[in-house]
């Protein structure tokens, strides 16, 4: 429940940022720099006098949209490829496994740096990295489960009743394999948020002045001797979001697999 509340708070903060805080996230006011938390600025201000609370809430939009869009895209692509690999002919399965392993063998950071060097820093580049990194894992899980179900009696029965491949996969295989993947996906969201924050921290994510938790964290690192509030403002939402989605994943696991809950 705690996870659900945290996640809802984060999503609510991001969605209703404009209503929750009046300060414009990119409005510069150097005379107000490095202010501590106050009623006027709930989380203080950064080195350019920008309101940190506003930047954190608007940064949440970036973090959550990157996470949700790229995880959703990874899920769709991973599911399709996993079903094809698991249900298709052996040679195709072997080829796809080789491809998944090849992509998986790239260290995430190196892959991200290579893509950013090729295409330049942008939100799209970050999302492409996330999709590339996650698809092989998701596809492998679906493939393994599909292989196990391929010769199950209810699948054979559907085939003997004339169901085509697409229908078998959509109506009989997919509903039985998607559960574990949803749990995994929810637990991957904080990982994706950390990737986006890390790229922005290095100056390779969103372009300034767009607020991003990683960029705020970087500002905080630079000014840590002047004020700790910027680093706190950048780090706190990353920690809370990570906790929230991790707890949410565990809740989902309990829902999808009650046996684990009983054991736990």
């Amino acid at each position: 429940m705690f996870g659900v509340v945290l996640v809802l708070l984060m999503i609510g903060g991001a969605v209703f940022a404009d209503l929750l805080v009046a300060a414009e996230p990119n409005r510069i006011s150097p005379r107000d720099r490095f202010q501590g938390p106050s009623l006027a600025h709930l989380m203080g201000t950064d080195q350019l006098g920008r309101d940190l609370f506003s930047r954190v809430l608007h940064g949440g939009r970036i973090a959550l949209s990157v996470a949700l869009i790229s995880i959703a895209a990874s899920l769709v692509i991973g599911v399709v490829l996993g079903l094809i690999a698991g249900y298709g002919p052996r040679w195709l399965d072997n080829l796809m496994i080789l491809l998944f392993d090849a992509i998986k063998s790239f260290p995430t950071v190196m892959l991200a740096l290579a893509l950013v060097t090729l295409f330049g820093p942008s939100l799209t580049a970050v999302m492409v990295v996330v999709v590339l990194v996650n698809v092989p894992g998701y596809a492998r899980i679906i493939r393994t489960q599909t292989l196990a179900l391929k010769s199950a009696q209810f699948v054979t029965a559907a085939q003997s009743m004339g169901a085509g491949t697409a229908r078998v996969l959509r109506a009989h295989v997919l509903p039985n394999v998607i559960g574990p993947l949803l749990i995994l996906a929810s637990m991957d969201i904080p990982v994706v948020i950390a990737i986006e924050a890390g790229m922005s921290f290095l100056g390779l994510g969103v372009r300034p002045p767009t607020p991003s938790w990683g960029a705020i964290l970087n500002d905080g690192f630079t000014a840590i001797r002047d004020t700790p509030w910027i680093a706190i403002a950048g780090g706190l939402p990353i920690i809370l979001t990570t906790l929230g989605f991790t707890f949410l994943g565990e809740t989902l696991r309990d829902v999808f697999d009650p046996r684990l809950k009983a054991r736990g």
């Binding site: 990119n26 510069i28 150097p30 330049g120 372009r207 000014a223």
Partner: protein, 516 residues
């Protein structure tokens, strides 16, 4: 056999004791034998060729491994110190006599340094066929005459005022082995051969560390440390953290950190503030749309709140600058010819029908530059120009405007910082027509400017030089290609266990660092 079990309590006690011990043992900035100096440079090395060097940290390494005739003198006054020469004297306006020290050798079996090597090294930089960006340092050179094995005469075509301030004490006087260069090719990259300085390059791990080791064959005043480890750390704020963590013995600090560090220096350290010869400006490429229209360039000049940019980026530690020549030198100005006037900027844009302009601003990935860039971005947004900031690492940044690359014709706005030697000609030389696509990335191309630059090189009357260099900066203002921001100040911090060898403007001379 006795069983050792670790309880939670004993683990916490042991961890606590270890932590306390770690805190109690003093941190040694130098290694146990006091012979390793660890310093930060703001960029990694890319070229070790005196004729093609790219950055100040490379200058320092080049000067340490290829013996120069002279180096700048460490201390608070500008001067020079002989390194490879026993004597060097100006006989008249156009003749300099030199005699090399007798026993300087080149590594890798390239024998003794001779006057032939001096002739080769100097004429190589001056040779137009070499296309060295530093050819201007020796623009007055006629020839180097070899008198005997160790001595010779440098003949100039005409009087050259900056010779002793900005030519000889730079890597332009470093002496290479003629034989090595002829055998191995005409350029030095990152793997030097025939080294001859107080130190030799022992190791280079790209983006991690450069190690200079004391040259065992150097028979004169030795370097102060067995090894100098140079860590490339682009962001000064990161370097400050490294210094405070005990990983560095010396570093430049960010200007914005100076007030805090001066008020509360870390234990066992000394904080220095030096007047800077650097200049920071917003450059506008006049050959790329929309800035091929002079009125749009002028609109940017009026749109940028220079005081606001400097205050935000440097937290009040630096003042607004008015040109490329630092205070105290002939040609230093007290104002520019454009003012902060957003209404005028909007009017110019409207007059040119420039609406919904979208431009890019390239910067070095460094916190102060990013802060300055964001204020500029806000200023431009205020007059209706949308500006995207592109952060670049140093390797990319320092090649952005090069005519050999493919980005110069996309480069629009650039936030730059150059440093100079203590003569105004060393600032103006980078903006001559010959430098277009080399270091002149605004592609400012003005024949009158060039003529004035050449006039300044032979004029020894300071009042007249002042007039010449002010006029040149006026031409730069008029072109609309420049928004001058600041000369900064130089902040540095070092352990009290070392005596840093620094030029009056705070730039380091690795070979002059000593243990306290």
């Amino acid at each position: 056999m006795k069983q050792h079990t670790m309880t939670r309590r004993s683990f916490l006690a042991a961890a606590g004791a270890f932590g306390a011990a770690t805190m109690a043992v003093p941190r040694f900035a130098l290694s146990q034998d006091g012979s390793v100096l660890t310093v930060r440079s703001y960029s990694d090395l890319q070229v070790l060729d005196p004729a093609f060097r790219l950055s100040l940290p490379e200058d320092d390494i080049i000067r340490s491994i290829f013996a120069p005739m002279v180096i700048p003198q460490a201390g608070d006054t500008w001067g020079w110190k002989a390194i490879a020469v026993d004597s060097i004297d100006q006989l008249d306006d156009v003749t300099i006599a030199f005699t090399l020290k007798d026993n300087i050798g080149f590594t890798d079996g390239y024998g003794q340094m001779t006057a032939e090597d001096v002739k080769f090294s100097i004429e190589r930089i001056a040779d137009p066929a070499m296309e060295s960006p530093y050819a201007g340092d020796w623009s007055a050179l006629k020839e180097v005459e070899v008198k005997d094995k160790l001595s010779g005469l440098i003949h100039l075509k005409n009087k050259f005022v900056p010779l002793w301030s900005t030519t000889l004490p730079t890597p332009a006087s470093c002496i290479l082995s003629k034989r090595a260069m002829e055998e191995l090719g005409d350029k030095i990259t990152t793997q030097p051969v025939a080294q001859s300085g107080q130190y030799i390059l022992a190791d280079w791990q790209p983006k991690q560390k450069t190690v200079l080791r004391r040259n065992p064959d150097w028979a004169h005043e030795p370097g102060g440390f067995d090894e100098i480890h140079i860590l490339p750390i682009e962001d000064p704020a990161t370097a400050e953290r490294g210094f405070e963590a005990g990983d560095l013995d010396y570093t430049w600090t960010s200007v914005s950190s100076l007030p805090r560090l001066k008020a509360d220096p870390p234990a066992g350290s000394v904080v220095l503030e030096k007047p800077s010869l650097a200049y920071v400006w917003l450059g506008i490429n006049q050959d790329v749309a929309p800035f091929d229209n002079p009125n749009i360039r002028r609109a940017v000049q009026h749109a940028v709140d220079r005081q606001g940019v400097v205050d935000a980026a440097y937290f009040g530690a630096a003042s607004v600058g008015n040109g490329i020549i630092a205070p105290g030198l002939p040609g230093s100005r007290s104002s520019v010819t454009y003012d902060y006037d957003p209404d005028k900027a909007r009017a110019l844009l409207e007059q040119e029908g420039a609406t919904n302009l979208s431009v890019t601003l390239d910067i070095l990935n460094q916190s102060e530059r990013l802060t300055a860039a964001q204020v500029i971005q806000a200023n431009l947004a205020d007059v209706g120009i949308s500006c995207e900031i592109k952060q670049n690492d140093s390797g990319t940044f320092w090649t952005l405007g090069s005519k050999d690359g493919d980005y110069w014709n996309k480069l629009q706005l650039i936030l730059s910082r150059y440093s100079m030697q203590p003569d105004p000609s060393w600032a103006t030389v980078w903006f001559t027509p010959e430098q277009v696509g080399v270091w002149n990335w605004e592609r400012f191309n003005n024949a009158e400017y060039k003529a004035l630059h050449e006039q300044g090189l032979v004029e020894s009357d300071n009042a007249k030089r002042d007039e010449i260099y002010k006029k040149m900066q006026g031409l730069m203002d008029e072109s609309g290609c420049y928004v001058f921001l600041t000369h900064e100040v130089v902040g540095a911090i070092h352990r009290d266990t070392i005596v840093p060898g620094l030029k009056p403007n705070g730039e380091s001379l690795f070979s002059e660092f000593k243990a306290a």
